[in-house]
Each structure stands twice: as structure tokens, then as C-alpha cells.
């Protein structure tokens, strides 16, 4: 016996009539990929759709974000369904923008589809008249933590404070009265399944700049200070720390050299790197961050160079709510069968849903509807029925359960959710990650 089955029947039939329309929007986004804080076209497409469907839309939040809210007019919990607007930059991806290299190699275009699917169903009057509280559809920018230099210019211009879109939403108060949040990500595990539960690493991001002394690399190397050697030593030193990483902390440190010298016949004086420091918990992130800083300083010390280390807040570890997961599991199983529901493991990547999960009860199920490697050139959604329609229905049906009957289930879930931090605490903590120091012997 399915709970609220009459409402859910109305909900499903409202969606079934508009499946192609929603898919077209997802494909439109797939074919016009835009990276974070640049999703102008995508944002307009989604905002226009909500407006056409009678929603009140707040647009241009943190440049490209938008929120469309359906208020039932009755007091009750506030549930948010999210979809991410941004693409990655993977120039050789099948659907990459030839000019910018942007590509939906992480399937975010399908998230928008599942979010709109849920919206279509809830928009049905026979559905929303049974609900209390509010439902907000949030299209958020910049989930991928990339193009740090560009985002730093936005920070410098005062356009944003944080590199992640949901972080900006939190800061700008859009989660102030939200109680529950959900988003369906695509995934590549057992095809045809929906993954539930799981968790994700958190992270900080670093930009590193070694300054040495240029000199003719052939004629007078003894007059130079080689910043590339400093970086080389630092990377070796980072690797030497790895045995001190605890398995349970799932630490990831993976630097890249963004500038490794200017001319091969000149001793490199300006060498720059970027790295993430990821771990499953904040103490481990902070401890590893210290070790990484120590390694960069050692590179400078050994060569006589100086090093400037800038640390930016990244994402917080994600921990998804058990009660909400269980409610979602019921609804998902009613759509695709118990056998097609799998439990997700801890993910060592990061998402700004992690930040959301620290302040409200949240889930991020996975629609296993893709082939290829995530963030790779061949990552494509090949099961849109699951990624958009089934995923959207499962979320919408969960919302129906949360907000029907005076929002009893919703109240129960957010009532028993113990937020690790308040929004104020969240903002303080994120700002405390920020540091910029220059080290010279």
C-alpha cells in the first residue's frame, strides 16, 4: 500500500504528459554547456520555464542562480529541490563547447530535468492542494570547484564571496527557512538503479606561488633560485606525508602546476600550483592542510625561494539524513523496485551539497543512468527516463509524503535532525578556512 497514493497518481500523470518537453530542456542545456558563474543562457532557459509555468522566480542570485517557490499558503515545512546549472571544462568531451571547452561531463543538465519533473507534478492543483508549507526549486550555479582564478576575480569584484553556488545561496539567506533539501545527481554505478545514502569528502582549495630568482639557466644557474625545484621538493614532501593519512579520513591531495616556468633557458622564478586537500571530516582537512603547507614551506626553505600560500574555503563533508533517505527509498522502490535501490558508499569527491547537509536535513541520491568516466570525455547520460523522469518522480513523491497530512513527516524529519552548525556558525567556519601567508626563511 503506497502512502498518499491518490495524490501520487495525479502527480505521476501530470508528469507523464510532459516528459518530452522536460527532456528537450535537458538536452538544450547539454548542447549549450556553461561553466560555473557563467551559466547565463542556462539560467535564462530555466527561469523562463518557471515563469511560463506560473512560478514566481527570483533570478540572478549569485550571478546566475534562481529560485522558484510554490507556497501552499498553509503553514508547514519548507522543502528545497535543487538542480545544478554548471558544466565542467573538458574540451575533448563529446558535447563540449568548442570555444570554451565547457561540457556536461558530470550530468548536471539531467539534474535540471529531474528538478523540473518534480515541479511539473507538484504544480498540479490536485497535488499541491493536499500539501502544506513551501516547495522551492533552486537552480544553483558553480558546483564544480574550478576556474579558481576567474572566481577569485569575482570575489575581488565583490560579486561573490564563495566559490560554490550553494554556499552563496546559504550566505544570501536562501536556506534561512529551508528545512529539508534534496538533489539527484547522475551516477555510473549499477545501471538502472537509484543510489541512496552515502557521504562525501569535504575540502579546502589552495593556490601556491613560489618566487625565486631568474638567471640564465646555462650561463649562470648559480645566480638563480629555482622555483620549479622548490615545487618539486614540495610535491615530493607532500607524497612523503601520505603514510600519515588515516584510511578512515579518506584524504586526497592532488596538486597541479599551473605555471612551471616561463622559458626553458631561464631559471624558473615564478611557479604556481593549485591543490585541493580533501578528507571525510573537518579536523582531518585542517590537519592535512597543515601538513601540505609545511611541505610547500619546505620547498621554499630548501631552495631559498619564498612561497605564498592562499587557502580558500572549499566544501564541507556531506552527511545525508537517514530518515529522509528512508522515506526517499520507499518512494524510489515503488517506482523501480526494491532490487534496483542500492546503498552508496562514501564518495571521496566533494560537493556543495555537503555544505547544505551541514545545516538542513538533506539527501543526494544518485540516478545511475550514465556511461563513461565521471568528469571524463565519454561521460554521457544514456538513460534519461531514469535520470530525469524517475528521479524527478521519486523526489516529488518524497515531497508529497513530507508535506501532506499537515506536514507531519516533514516536521518529524527536520525535528529530529541535529544540524552540525547554524548558518551563522557555518559562515564563520567557512571564513576561518581562509588564509594567505607568505613564507621566507
Amino acid at each position: 500500500m503506497i502512502e498518499n497514493d491518490v495524490t501520487k497518481t495525479f502527480f505521476a500523470s501530470a508528469i507523464d504528459g510532459r516528459v518530452d518537453e522536460i527532456k528537450r530542456i535537458s538536452l538544450d542545456i547539454l548542447n549549450h554547456p556553461e561553466s560555473g558563474y557563467r551559466e547565463y543562457r542556462t539560467s535564462k532557459l530555466v527561469a523562463d520555464w518557471f515563469r511560463t509555468n506560473g512560478f514566481h522566480v527570483q533570478a540572478n542570485i549569485a550571478k546566475t542562480g534562481l529560485v522558484a517557490t510554490l507556497d501552499t499558503g498553509k503553514t508547514g515545512p519548507h522543502v528545497a529541490i535543487l538542480g545544478e546549472l554548471d558544466a565542467l571544462v573538458v574540451p575533448r568531451h563529446l558535447y563540449a563547447n568548442l570555444e570554451t571547452g565547457a561540457a556536461h561531463a558530470c550530468g548536471h543538465h539531467a539534474q535540471i530535468g529531474s528538478m523540473l519533473t518534480a515541479a511539473v507534478g507538484i504544480l498540479d492543483e490536485s497535488v499541491n492542494k493536499t500539501l502544506t508549507g513551501k516547495i522551492s526549486f533552486m537552480a544553483t550555479p558553480a558546483e564544480e570547484y574550478i576556474e579558481l582564478e576567474y572566481r577569485q576575480t569575482l570575489v575581488d569584484n565583490g560579486e561573490i564571496e564563495f566559490f560554490g553556488g550553494k554556499q552563496e545561496f546559504i550566505k544570501r539567506g536562501f536556506f534561512d527557512d529551508v528545512n529539508i533539501a534534496m538533489l539527484t545527481h547522475t551516477g555510473g554505478e549499477t545501471p538502472g538503479t537509484l543510489g541512496i545514502g552515502g557521504s562525501n569528502n569535504g575540502m579546502v582549495g589552495k593556490t601556491i606561488r613560489f618566487r625565486g630568482k631568474a638567471a640564465h639557466a646555462g650561463g649562470s644557474p648559480h645566480l638563480g633560485i629555482n622555483s620549479l625545484n622548490a615545487a618539486h621538493i614540495a610535491l615530493a614532501a607532500i607524497h612523503a606525508q601520505r603514510e600519515t593519512f588515516r584510511d578512515s579520513d579518506t584524504v586526497r591531495v592532488h596538486p597541479i602546476i599551473t605555471k612551471g616556468g616561463s622559458a626553458v633557458n631561464s631559471v624558473p622564478s615564478d611557479v604556481r600550483l593549485e591543490t585541493y586537500v580533501r578528507a571525510s571530516n573537518v579536523p582531518a582537512i585542517l590537519q592535512t592542510s597543515q601538513k601540505v603547507d609545511r611541505a610547500f614551506r619546505a620547498g621554499a626553505l630548501a631552495t631559498g625561494a619564498t612561497v605564498q600560500i592562499t587557502t580558500n574555503p572549499g566544501y564541507l563533508p556531506a552527511k545525508y539524513d537517514d530518515l529522509l533517505t528512508e522515506l526517499y527509498r520507499h518512494n524510489a522502490a515503488s517506482l523501480i523496485g526494491d532490487d534496483n535501490i542500492i546503498r552508496l558508499n562514501h564518495g571521496t569527491g566533494c560537493t556543495d551539497m555537503g555544505d547544505v547537509s551541514q545545516i538542513v536535513a538533506a539527501i543526494q541520491p544518485s540516478a545511475n543512468a550514465t556511461s563513461g568516466d565521471a568528469h571524463g570525455i565519454d561521460y554521457v547520460v544514456d538513460n534519461y527516463d531514469l535520470a530525469i523522469t524517475k528521479a524527478g518522480k521519486a523526489m516529488g513523491m518524497t515531497v508529497i509524503d513530507l508535506l501532506s497530512k499537515n506536514g507531519e513527516k516533514g516536521k518529524n524529519i527536520f525535528g529530529s535532525f541535529h544540524a552540525p552548525m547554524t548558518i551563522d556558525e557555518y559562515l564563520r567556519r567557512m571564513r576561518s578556512f581562509r588564509s594567505n601567508s607568505t613564507y621566507e626563511d
Binding site: 639557466a217 644557474p221 648559480h222 638563480g224 629555482n226 625545484n229 618539486h232 621538493i233 614540495a234 615530493a236 614532501a237 612523503a240 606525508q241 603514510e243 600519515t244 593519512f245 588515516r246 601538513k291 609545511r294 611541505a295 614551506r297 619546505a298 620547498g299 626553505l301 630548501a302 631552495t303 631559498g304 626563511d441
Partner: protein, 448 residues
């Protein structure tokens, strides 16, 4: 002034050496058969003492543990010429002549120096020669020229058995060279061929570091995250040092080479104590300091990266060798006279051989020469370094040194006096001892 007949005296000396050539070579081979490392050359020392005493000489023993000195006094007063031989062997366990227990081996040919010194002694104890000499010959058997077994020697230093870590350094400190005006020795080298000898060139200054990394031990499988790995710190330092090599100028002849003498105690524990012995060499003291500064920075970087601490103990090493050109000229003349025009190769004074010797230290306070007898095959300090021609190594070296001494001390020692009068020492023995003492330092670096 008593003008002697030098050619006649020389031929007496040459004849004496020829007559004893068999026993001189046997003596060298006997020393080869009992290799002992520096400050441990007890058997070698005792053997040489007996040989010298058999020539009627009084031998002062126990100088710097195993060193000795015997003086042949000329009948007339004058300068004292030091003739030096080094007692010690290296430690090369794979060398065919290695001692089974200690691994000591004469892989640097010091044993032939002893044969040559005994040859000089045998020739010059002759009363006919002594009658014409204005001055003396100090036969000096120096321990521990190879700068090895640092930990062991530092223990001897802690026990007040020695203060400096090499034989000639100690002998300078103890005053063994106070009455000596100039010194010579002949070292063996490879390049066996037409030329018997080479002269000239220089050697590197050096310093040794005892670099002790201190981390924190922990079960390497169970709790590696609780440990601080001192071995990783040392290895990072080594990597860092290697990146510095591009900043060494060829003209500095910089050499940096270390060994890890304690790299951990058990493989299932995170190493918390690691000892890295570093050696830095360069052609000048300034270059040595410049490279040393970079290397110390790298030691610290290893500690900083791992959160370990590091204690760097500096051990005073050797000075660059400066050879006296007037003494060289006499040595060359005598070699050519005895063995022909092509018997000697002359290297420019700035030809740096890369290695180091404590004859360098002596060269800062008195005129010295350190020629080579080209008599060995293989690689110096290698397992295949063997003397090919003992007659050349021992007998020829003895002949040229003996005739050079004669040339210095006959005719009122006017040659020797000319050399000493024109020599400007870089350091007095007292200044040398003071500056060497100051080179022993210990600094600890603890990253915050």
C-alpha cells in the same frame, strides 16, 4: 762554509736504497697484509717502530694514539724536513686485501708510503750523509688520513683520546710539527705508465655533518598517522640537496655526498631516529661555506616538511692543499735526474683532484709537497685499487725524496732556508688549532 760533493752523497744514498730495496718492498707488503683503519693502526705502528729502531733511531710513539716520530739529526744545525707516511687503511670489505673482520683494506695505497719512508730513513741514517747535513729529518708516521668512521672518532673525541678527527690535524695540535719547517710525502696514484711521478695540483677542503633527524616512532602498519618519519625527512633532504647541484659552479669543484648510517631500526616501526652523514667538499673555504649553507637549508627543509626536528653537528674537516712550488721544483729536478726527463708529469697548481687530504691543513702552516707515484691500477678507494709496481712505488719514491732532502739540507741548507724565508703561512699552528676548534658546532632546528 763546508761545501759538500752532492753527486757523491746522492749516489751513496741511492746505493743504500737499492741494496735494501727487497726489504723495503717486503715492509710495504707486510703493512698491506695488516690493514687497520685510522687511530686503530696498532699493529702497523708497532711494526714500523721496530723497523726504525733497527736503524738505531729513537722513536717517539703514541702520538695521537698510533702516530710516531723519529728524528735523524744532521751534524750541523739547520731546518727540519718532515718526511711523512700515513699509517691507515680504508674500509673497503670487497677489496682482495681486506681484513675479514674489520673490512679494512689498503685501497688508497698508504702502505707504500711506509716503504718509501723507511727507504729515506735507511739512506739518511748513514753517518757520511749526516755529516754533510745542516738540519734534521723528521720521520713522521701519521694516523688516520682517511676521514671515515666519524661516529667512532667522535666517541674517541668525547673520551678525550683525540680532539680533531684526523692524524695530521691532531699532530699539529699536539706540537709534533712545531720543530718541522717543511714537509713532503709521496702518495700512490693510478696512471701507471711511462711517467713515474706527478706533481702539482690541489685538493678540496671539506666538512662533515652528522645530521640527526628526530621524529616519533609508531607502529608502521597500525598507527602510521601517529608517527613522524625521520627517514622521509632525511630522504627529502637528499632530494632537496640534489636540486641544488645546478647552482654549484664547476670552478668550485663542489662535492656533496652523504650516507645514511642509521636509517631506522625495525621495518615495522616508523623510523624516529635517522643519522645522515654528509660530506661537503669544495676548492676554497669560501665555496665550501656557500655550498654548506645551501645544504644545511635542505636538512632543515626535510625536518620542516615532516614535522621532525634535526640536529646538525659540524665536524671540522680539511683545508685545500697548496703545494710549495720551490719544493716541487727540487722534487722534479731529482726525479728527472734519476729516472729521466719523461719520468714526471707536472700538473697546474689549480688542477683540483676533488678529494681531500690533511696535508692540506699542514700546507696552511708550512711549505709542503704531496706528489704522486703512478703505480696503481683500478679506482682509488675501489675494490680493484692495487699496486702494480712495488719497486717504483717504494724504491723510486724513496730515492727522489731522499735526494730532495739532501738537496735541501746540504751546503748549509741554503735551499731549505730560501724556501722557509719566502714562505708566508696562512695560519700559525695556534691559529689553525683555534679555527679548527671553532668549526665544531651543533645546531638544532625544530620547526614550530
Amino acid at each position: 762554509m763546508n761545501v759538500s760533493n752532492l753527486p757523491e752523497l746522492r749516489s751513496i744514498a741511492m746505493q743504500t736504497i737499492d741494496e735494501s730495496s727487497g726489504s723495503l718492498v717486503d715492509a710495504a707488503k707486510c703493512v698491506y697484509a695488516t690493514p687497520e683503519t685510522g687511530f686503530n693502526e696498532r699493529k702497523t705502528s708497532h711494526f714500523v717502530q721496530k723497523q726504525l729502531e733497527a736503524l738505531g733511531l729513537f722513536v717517539e710513539t703514541g702520538i695521537a694514539i698510533t702516530g710516531m716520530k723519529a728524528v735523524i739529526k744532521g751534524n750541523n744545525p739547520g731546518p727540519t724536513i718532515g718526511v711523512i707516511a700515513e699509517l691507515d687503511a680504508l674500509r673497503v670489505p670487497s677489496h682482495p686485501g681486506a681484513d675479514d673482520t674489520s673490512g679494512a683494506a689498503h685501497a688508497c695505497g698508504h702502505h707504500i708510503q711506509i716503504g718509501a719512508l723507511l727507504g729515506v730513513a735507511t739512506a739518511l741514517v748513514n753517518p757520511i750523509l749526516k755529516e754533510s747535513l745542516s738540519g734534521n729529518v723528521a720521520l713522521i708516521l701519521a694516523p688516520a688520513e682517511e676521514f671515515i668512521d666519524i661516529e667512532d672518532r667522535l666517541t674517541k673525541r668525547d673520551n678525550d683520546e683525540i680532539e680533531f678527527l684526523s692524524g695530521k690535524q691532531e699532530m699539529i695540535r699536539l706540537g709534533t710539527f712545531d720543530e718541522v719547517d717543511m714537509a713532503m710525502m709521496v702518495h700512490s696514484s693510478t696512471g701507471y705508465g711511462k711517467a713515474y711521478f706527478s706533481v702539482g695540483g690541489t685538493t678540496n677542503a671539506h666538512v662533515t655533518h652528522q645530521v640527526r633527524y628526530m621524529g616519533k616512532s609508531a607502529h608502521a602498519g597500525g598507527f602510521p598517522y601517529m608517527g613522524i618519519n625521520a627517514l622521509q625527512a632525511a630522504m627529502l633532504a637528499n632530494t632537496a640537496i640534489n636540486t641544488q647541484r645546478e647552482t654549484f659552479m664547476e670552478s668550485q669543484v663542489g662535492r656533496v655526498h652523504g650516507i645514511i648510517s642509521n636509517g631506522g631500526t625495525s621495518v615495522n616501526a616508523v623510523p624516529d631516529q635517522v643519522l645522515y652523514e654528509g660530506r661537503i667538499r669544495a676548492g676554497t673555504v669560501d665555496a665550501l661555506h656557500s655550498i654548506e649553507e645551501k645544504v644545511i637549508r635542505c636538512y632543515k627543509a626535510g625536518a620542516l616538511a615532516m614535522g621532525a626536528s634535526v640536529k646538525v653537528g659540524s665536524v671540522a674537516g680539511y683545508h685545500p692543499l697548496t703545494q710549495n712550488t720551490m719544493m716541487e721544483k727540487l722534487f722534479i729536478e731529482n726525479a728527472k735526474r734519476i729516472f729521466g726527463q719523461n719520468s714526471i708529469v707536472i700538473e697546474p697548481p689549480d688542477q683540483n683532484y676533488g678529494g681531500s687530504t690533511d696535508m692540506g691543513d699542514l700546507s696552511k702552516i708550512m711549505p709542503v709537497i704531496h706528489p704522486y707515484t703512478r703505480t696503481a691500477s683500478g679506482i682509488g678507494h675501489g675494490e680493484d685499487y692495487l699496486i702494480q709496481d712495488y719497486s717504483r712505488a717504494v724504491v723510486s719514491s724513496a730515492k727522489v725524496m731522499a735526494s730532495t732532502v739532501l738537496a735541501l739540507l746540504i751546503d748549509n741548507a741554503h735551499k731549505a732556508k730560501e724556501i722557509t724565508s719566502q714562505f708566508n703561512p696562512d695560519l700559525t699552528p695556534a691559529q689553525y688549532v683555534k679555527s679548527q676548534r671553532e668549526r665544531f658546532t651543533t645546531t638544532t632546528y625544530r620547526p614550530e
